[in-house]
Symmetry: C2
């Protein structure tokens, strides 16, 4: 039984202690669903291992709070352990502390302690840490997009309690080089596919990545080889070499623009797209986002990475990242979160909602 | 029972029909040993699955005839099949036809039909087609080098019955590039090891391989990447990349010279030697080699590849390659040899020995 009335730090510990590695979130989803169903003010639905809840307060605007229930594999770091201001354990930072803050708000609204100025939707979902095809938020965006509609979405991913707007897009291509196989003792009879990759790597090495201002936030891009392979045997001139390249692009480019740019960089080479996800604009220029930034304080920055905010972007919902954890601790064995940061994030969110 | 009195083509078929994939040569070695022991003129010894035989005719000069007994794995091409002038089957070309020619000469000398102008040593050995450490000739060179001594060694490897002098040397190095790992969304925090390979591949792509005249034969060199690997994950700037490079060098360079040259080509990079085998000079400038070339006819050419002649070179014995098979058919399922070529190779060798 999850007690949403306990403070956000204790609630974080309780969530952390229900192991929920990707694909194995059912028990935690059951507990979250049961906890939310105790508040008659909230309309709760279950979809796979995603749990949705919404208010119907007839407000002018709606804010979506979203967070994933899954963690990366446990690394000897369960159950949680508290040491003064620090809570240690798998998922403390990414992102059960964020989920705890969301659920605390549900308790405050559901119990009548908080009368929010906006309608609210909660989305807790599964399988964020693994292949995109299994992502619960992705499924909801495809199958019931109306449930995710709103004027602002707040993804409670770890950001160190700073507003991180939008996200980079990401795409991967494979640049394939072909050659002619031959015995390396008679290499002039062949054509070396690995040697043919020289200009591909040279273009990458000399690539000047953009730094772009989008709606007041600064996005840095990056174009990187993340893999290379070639070779048949120690005495064979190889006829194949493949360079896998990852492009992280700013939200002023669509996926199509980004691919066109990559094809341009590798003009003259065989470029195959293998993976693509759009960027999201920060959307901080809307009044409601401005109110959130004001309530939270601090200078917003660009999200340098890809997050599920892009899915909201795809639905036309401005989305930002804001959560108590430290993104640099995500996926580490020594993952932890500051208890003060969890309580402060709840306070900020409540301040915004009370306004 | 092997009948060395039968003609070289039939003897080839008989040798082919005793399967002797590398590591499994004992039965064939037994048969060869027993056949040679029937000639009292020959002193026969067994060493592992190598068989040695020698004459003691007190001639001024000694010629070593050498050939390996093993084949690559059978590929549905046993037993042998004769079709007019063509004998099909595993080992027909590489190199049981060569072994048959050696053994025919042993019969002619042992039976008194041929009175050679030189003393002769025969070496049939195992495990040439697999890792060098198991090579029977290599073992003999280490453990009983005196038995391999001579004024000329003839390796009856397939050369299309053309004298192929000496052999290229071969060495492999790994050029390692280091970087700093980082999330590819924040690539400026890292340093890409694959990008760092750009100048390595550029040097390879623009490398101008030498063509060298050594003792009248033309050796072409080659410097080739035969493998490349790098990459940690699709979203990680890699901290490691490794390029495996194979250098085939002419016999005017020692192994040390060759390595120094490769280090020079990759100056500034981390170069690790992983494998090295010396080249062999053709040694065709000795009178006895000149006599052999005259008896055989045709214009000698350089051996472009590495063969066991290099082991004789290491012992100070000039060595050349000369055998009836076609090197381009070696290791193929449709391996075959021309019966005429086998008989002609025997004739050439007998002509030389009778002179």
């Amino acid at each position: 039984m999850l007690d949403l009335a306990s403070d956000a730090a204790r609630l974080t510990a309780a969530l952390v202690d229900v192991e929920s590695v990707s694909g194995d979130e059912a028990r935690l989803a059951d507990l979250v669903e049961a906890a939310l169903r105790r508040y008659p003010q909230l309309a709760v639905e279950r979809d796979g291992d995603a749990v949705l809840a919404r208010t119907a307060l007839a407000r002018d605007r709606r804010v979506v709070l979203a967070g994933h229930l899954d963690t990366v594999p446990v690394a000897g770091n369960l159950p949680s352990r508290r040491d003064g201001d620090t809570l240690w354990g798998c998922g403390t930072s990414d992102m059960k502390s964020g989920v705890a803050v969301m659920l605390r708000v549900a308790h405050l609204v559901g119990s009548g302690a908080l009368d929010p100025g906006v309608d609210l939707t909660w989305v807790c979902y599964e399988c964020e840490e693994i292949e995109a095809a299994r992502n619960g938020l992705g499924r909801l965006a495809r199958t019931r997009p109306a449930e995710l509609a709103g004027d602002l979405a707040i993804l409670l991913e770890p950001t160190g309690a700073v507003v991180e707007g939008g996200c980079q897009g990401t795409l991967r291509v494979v640049v394939r080089l072909a050659g002619i196989r031959a015995h390396s003792a008679r290499s002039w009879l062949g054509q070396n596919a690995i040697h043919a990759a020289a200009p591909v790597l040279a273009r990458l090495a000399s690539y000047d990545a953009r730094t772009v201002d989008v709606d007041g936030l600064t996005y840095r891009e990056g174009l990187n080889a993340v893999g290379i392979s070639g070779g048949v045997a120690g005495n064979v001139v190889p006829d194949e070499c493949a360079v896998t390249v990852n492009y992280r692009f700013a939200p002023d480019r669509s996926e199509a623009d980004a691919l066109a740019h990559v094809r341009d960089v590798f003009a003259g080479f065989d470029v195959e797209l293998t993976d693509s996800a759009p960027a999201a604009r920060p959307g901080l220029d809307t009044p409601i986002a401005g109110e959130f930034v004001a309530a939270v304080g601090g200078a917003p920055r660009a999200k340098l990475g890809w997050t599920d905010v892009a899915r909201f972007g795809g639905l036309g919902v401005p989305a930002l990242n804001f959560g108590p954890g430290d993104p640099n601790l995500a996926h580490k064995a020594d993952e932890h979160v500051s208890v003060d940061a969890v309580l402060a994030a709840e306070e900020s969110l409540v301040r915004f909602l009370s306004a």
